[in-house]
Symmetry: C2
Subunit: 359 residues, 2 copies
């Protein structure tokens, strides 16, 4: 995979411009978001061709002219709007903000989950604690908080999660079922999305969802009218507790976007417990997004940015890993990589690791 | 002056990338800032050539490896760092963040003044009130709050202010003194920077600083060991009160980066009072940054972003104006533009308007 970060691609003038974009990143974001949320951007897009004046837009969205003007003028420099003869039209970038599911998921996650807490990033780095999580109350990690957060915030979290794991499920299913596992353990099964995909994919597989009590309570409700639900079992526990063992005898253990929620020593400890939970010839299947396994620099950028959420909000000690950092943990737990499949999912962001006991 | 915003300069791929930069703007900013504040970026820059490993940097800044790694890996995608063989070096963009006064002023202002309040930008637009100002307490405008804010926050505010007005003073002085004014009224004189420049520039001019009591209290202390301080006079008042008249008989009235703190009706009302305060052949001199009078698109972008601060934090009803919006107010108050000087100051961001009574 190409190293996207070997060369400085900007000349001095471009670097100076880029520095200002960094410096104004927060207000750029909030202006762009407000242009979406107020309906301004959608109105302008609808007027394609002739365009609209500030006054016309203010009338259509029923907002004060002043605020509409400040946002729309900022939208010019941000690259969302164009203007000629006091008539505004929208750009291609605006199209992505309005219609691209991934861009919207990123923006909602940033605003609803990360924005306020990100103010405490530097302190979080210094203290090794998610100091930004205080914006949601007094929780040790965001996983404890999740079930108790407002519906809108929960929705933003789960939609984002979807783009970084669930979209790779169709590609991962045949790879996992190539060995026809009879008993599969789904660790950190979340809402049960993967488990339901397995039920549909294989008529015999028995699945055990292992997760925190709060998460499982949500997951259980999602299996009510699902065919094959009798093949799903639930096992509660918290793997942060090093004494917490897993149930045993599984042909396959599946962890999707799960181990990035843990520090390196914790990952090693969890994988050691997976060793004990595997049947004789079982395999551990790990789906992760590694920033150095992205085809494009933009993919790496997005994954690296997600790491900052773990630092400032989620738990203060995990991240979206570089593959070498992560593979060192896999090895330390006594596994070796049998297969590595990069570029899974519609955005090619995910890697599936197939791990077997090192002999 | 060129219209920088007539054409969509991005193709679809670039637009998709730009959309992600917008979506992650807040975490890009906080990561960049933390890389500066922790000393990481400076350490890497110092190592130019060979570069440093994550472990070496963590040792030098005495911070946990985990946090250093998350920040530095994010720094790759942000374009501040490069990596080859696990050794990190810094980019040209990093140089601007570390050494360019304007970039640093923008970043400090964003973090200390705007970041938290900018979360309420959409609400501020809807309500026409600076809803983000609540992050500093219960104040009607930021000007009321300023004298009471923590020293660090005040410093960030005044440093930023400097880059948008004071740096144009040397260019503006000969233009204002071309008519040899004997009595000059400095409205919104702030810390008295302009007044001191006038005292040095002209041995006879008498200057009256007009401002809010809090601001004048600060300004007075700045004249203590200044030559010619006996030619400076102070006049207190709040021009938001439409009944508040100005003292009279001035040859020149000076307002630098002042009228952008007011709404259009307020600007008209203040300029009408300037009419009454001017001597027979007096002039009003207005120094402002208009986003449509910037030579480069980057300049326009910065000025437009500053507008959002007025909306969400300063007062909820003013902005950095487009020149046509502003000139309409000047005209409505009975003035005409005698001269317009664009591109003043080291960054060419300021315009000086020389206004005389319309006959």
């Amino acid at each position: 995979m190409k190293n996207h970060f070997e060369k400085d691609t900007r000349n001095a003038l471009q670097a100076r411009e880029h520095a200002q974009w960094i410096a104004y990143g927060p207000s750029v974001f909030q202006a762009a978001r407000a242009l979406c949320e107020t309906g301004i951007l959608a109105e302008v897009e609808r007027s394609a061709g002739a365009g609209l004046t500030l006054e016309e837009v203010a009338g259509r969205v029923a907002l004060p002219l002043y605020g509409v003007r400040v946002l729309m003028e900022a939208g010019l420099g941000i690259g969302l709007l164009l203007e000629r003869g006091h008539r505004y039209t929208s750009t291609k970038t605006a199209w992505f903000l309005l219609h691209d599911g991934m861009t919207r998921a990123h923006m909602d996650f940033m605003h609803d989950i990360s924005y306020r807490g990100m103010y405490a990033l530097e302190t979080s780095v210094r203290n090794g604690k998610p100091e930004g999580l205080k914006t949601f109350g007094d929780w040790p990690t965001i996983y404890h908080a999740l079930a108790h957060l407002p519906e809108r915030v929960r929705k933003s979290w789960f939609t984002y999660d979807h783009f970084y794991s669930d979209e790779a499920f169709p590609a991962a299913l045949p790879l996992v079922f190539a060995r026809s596992p009879r008993r599969l353990l789904d660790i950190g099964g979340n809402t049960g999305q993967w488990a339901r995909a397995c039920l549909r994919h294989d008529a015999a597989v028995e699945i055990t969802l292992f997760d925190l009590p709060g998460q499982l309570a949500t997951a259980r409700t999602q299996f009510q009218a699902v065919a094959g639900a009798e093949r799903v079992h639930f096992s509660e526990g918290n793997l942060l507790d090093a004494q917490q063992e897993l149930p045993g005898g599984f042909d396959a253990i599946w962890m999707s976007q799960f181990l990035d929620c843990f520090s390196e020593p914790q990952i090693v400890s969890i994988l050691e417990r997976c060793q004990r939970a595997l049947a004789a010839d079982g395999r551990v299947y790990i789906l992760e997004s590694f920033w150095d396994r992205q085809r494009h620099a933009l993919g790496a950028f997005c994954v690296q940015q997600l790491s900052l959420y773990f630092t400032a909000l989620a738990n203060g000690n995990s991240q979206m890993y570089r593959s070498s950092t992560f593979l060192a943990c896999v090895s330390a737990a006594g596994f070796e990589i049998e297969q590595q499949h990069d570029g899974l999912g519609a955005h090619g962001a995910s890697t599936l690791l197939v791990c077997r006991r090192r002999t």
